[in-house]
């Protein structure tokens, strides 16, 4: 695809999705966030704000700390040995690492979808959707309603409504990933973090998930890590470009509206990356 064509498609997409002109209130924000594993600094000085009900794509070459970054956003980072950090992550204006914050509440408000579809193999499709309620000990009575609503939101309802009692392992990879999205939605998070949710999927499933993401972004804030630049263009309102120089921690090189990052980047490295010249 030539640059001219690419820009055209960007413009076309921009019109199609009508990115909000005004930035809404910020839901989640990282301030001066640096992250370590033992003595190795993997991220440095990340300042990123995620406005409410928008999609933000995190792009950049492998090993630049994108996945680590989103794991710090819902306190999964701390489960890895040697993890440490500096700076703060504000959710609805409060630091999620504050002394009185309960990681469980944070994780329930800020859901996560992983790279590999990981439904619980010992549970049925229905059981998987409701697993968050069980795991976190939430009490809800309207289970049927939750199952239907979240599966509809995840775009899976029509495919599985007749076999909710079947094992989750029966589903295809793409269906499993949408099931996992439904599972994350069932606990009604305000933010959904997605770590390369389509990297293990075929193009058709990828398209379905992207539709789902656009649909979901009407109600929740989404942060998505992706290696696929077309995908960033297709789904994201905002984009942040991460890069780690040799033996240096990853940094956010440039951030802004997706159209700007892809159409008119300020930094030469961003330009190179979005045009596929490295990484």
């Amino acid at each position: 695809m030539s640059t001219a064509e690419f820009e055209q498609s960007v413009v076309a997409l921009e019109q199609e999705f009508s990115v909000p002109a005004q930035q809404g209130p910020v839901e989640l924000e990282a301030r001066d966030l640096s992250v370590w594993f033992n003595s190795r600094k993997v991220l440095e000085g990340v300042n990123l704000a995620f406005p409410k009900n928008t999609v933000t794509a995190l792009i950049g070459p492998s090993g630049c700390g994108k996945s680590t970054f989103i794991r710090t956003l819902n306190r999964l980072h701390e489960l890895l040995p040697g993890a440490a950090l500096a700076g703060e992550v504000l959710y609805e204006g409060e630091d999620i690492y504050g002394p009185t914050k309960d990681p469980v509440h944070i994780r329930l408000s800020i859901g996560m979808v992983f790279q590999k579809p990981n439904p619980f193999p010992s549970m049925t499709i229905r059981g998987n959707v409701l697993s968050g309620l069980k795991l976190s000990g939430m009490k809800r009575s309207n289970h049927d309603e939750i199952v239907e609503q979240t599966l509809i939101s995840a775009g899976l309802w029509n495919e599985v409504k007749d076999r909710l009692g079947h094992a989750a392992g029966e589903l295809s990879g793409g269906q499993q990933q949408r099931l996992v999205i439904a599972r994350a939605l069932a606990v009604q998070p305000h933010v959904l973090l997605m770590d390369e949710p389509c990297s293990a999927l075929d193009p058709a499933s990828t398209l379905k998930i992207e539709e789902t993401i656009r649909e979901l972004s009407k109600d929740i804030t989404i942060v998505i890590v992706t290696h696929n630049m077309q995908q960033a263009v297709r789904v994201a309102d905002y984009t942040a470009f991460f890069l780690a120089a040799e033996n240096e921690p990853g940094r956010v090189i440039e951030q802004g509206r997706t159209t700007e990052i892809f159409g008119n980047p300020q930094d030469q490295r961003t330009l190179d990356y979005v045009n596929g010249r490295f990484g």
């Binding site: 469980v104 994780r107 329930l108 990981n118 619980f120 010992s122 549970m123 697993s131 795991l135 976190s136």
Partner: protein, 322 residues
């Protein structure tokens, strides 16, 4: 041997390689079937001893409980011993299974790394203590302690049928024998369970964490269902060990030729393996030895069945090392 052979053929190695390999393969294959031959040998030879016993005593040998060779006709039956082996194993499992599960949960999910590795080594050490030493310890150290625990059980929970004791003698009970079996089962079951729980895929644990799990809900809904097959297999392996254990039980159990159905803190019980050892030394003649061999045949069948089942379960839930 084969090594020397091959050295001599060095010059013609290329030409004779196939033949050399064939000889080697045959030797190795023959050796590999020794285990089958031994298993079949045990079944055939002990089975052959069981045949005349059955001809003389009929099914009474496995359905009745007695050991009296002086009466006429002689009255001999090992039902109480077979049942006793199972009862002791159940007592052992009731103690060992929760302990093993908790131990492995502690090692895998709770303890700091250092403590976890100390515990793992301690459990291995426990497995290395020969059963005759455990028996010695049980006879002199555990017995008086356990008698006290049992009299407490009797005093406070005596209304539960299991904890009745009419004789007032708390030594030589199935409880003590089961307890010593538990000490032997714990390392076996723990090492399998620890392995299985340690293999819970990290992506499932991540998913559970991101859905706000607690330790309990993660275990209940993710780790334990995932490892269920392996855990059951580990318990069965422990059961196999418990059914076949001889000498430690011999030291602490008062063998009675009667069926102790469920009075676990009443002195006296049965066990096939213990019967064999205790009668063997003072066997009155070839026929009593034959009776013991027949009893051994049934013990073999029982443990073989349990072990085969255990191995099937473990291998079905994915290859486990060790």
């Amino acid at each position: 041997m084969a090594n020397v052979d091959l050295e001599q053929r060095d010059l013609q190695a290329a030409a004779t390689s196939h033949r050399g390999d064939r000889v080697f393969n045959r030797a190795i294959t023959a050796a590999a079937f020794v285990s089958l031959i031994v298993l079949a040998g045990i079944a055939i030879f002990l089975g052959a001893q069981a045949v005349p016993v059955f001809q003389q005593l009929g099914f009474g040998f496995v359905t009745s409980t007695a050991w009296d060779l002086n009466s006429d006709p002689i009255s001999v039956g090992i039902f109480g011993m077979l049942y006793g082996s199972v009862l002791l194993a159940i007592v052992g499992l009731v103690i060992a299974v929760p302990a093993s599960l908790l131990l492995s949960i502690f090692i895998v999910f709770i303890a700091p790394k250092k403590l976890a590795s100390i515990l793992t080594n301690s459990v291995d050490l426990m497995a290395a203590i020969p059963s005759v030493i455990l028996g010695l310890w049980a006879f002199y150290i555990l017995n008086p302690q356990a008698a006290e625990w049992q009299s407490l059980l009797h005093d406070y929970l005596g209304w539960i049928p299991f904890f009745q004791n009419e004789s007032g003698n708390f030594l030589g009970t199935p409880f003590i024998a089961g307890f010593i079996l538990a000490i032997m089962i714990i390392p076996i079951t723990t090492s399998v369970t620890r392995e299985v729980l340690g293999r819970t895929p990290p992506e499932l644990i991540n998913a559970a964490e991101s859905l706000g799990c607690s330790l309990w809900t993660m275990l209940r809904y993710v780790a334990l269902p995932y490892g269920r097959g392996g855990i059951v297999g580990g318990i069965m392996l422990g059961l196999g060990r418990a059914l076949g254990e001889t000498i430690a039980v011999f030291f602490v159990l008062k063998l009675v030729y009667d069926t102790n159905w469920y009075h676990v803190i009443e002195s006296g019980g049965g066990s096939v393996a213990t019967l064999i050892v205790s009668r063997f030394g003072e066997a009155s003649g070839p026929f009593e030895v034959q009776l013991l061999l027949a009893a051994g045949f049934f013990l073999f069948l029982m443990t073989l069945g349990v072990n085969m089942l255990a191995n099937l379960i473990v291998s079905r839930t994915g290859r486990l090392k060790k």
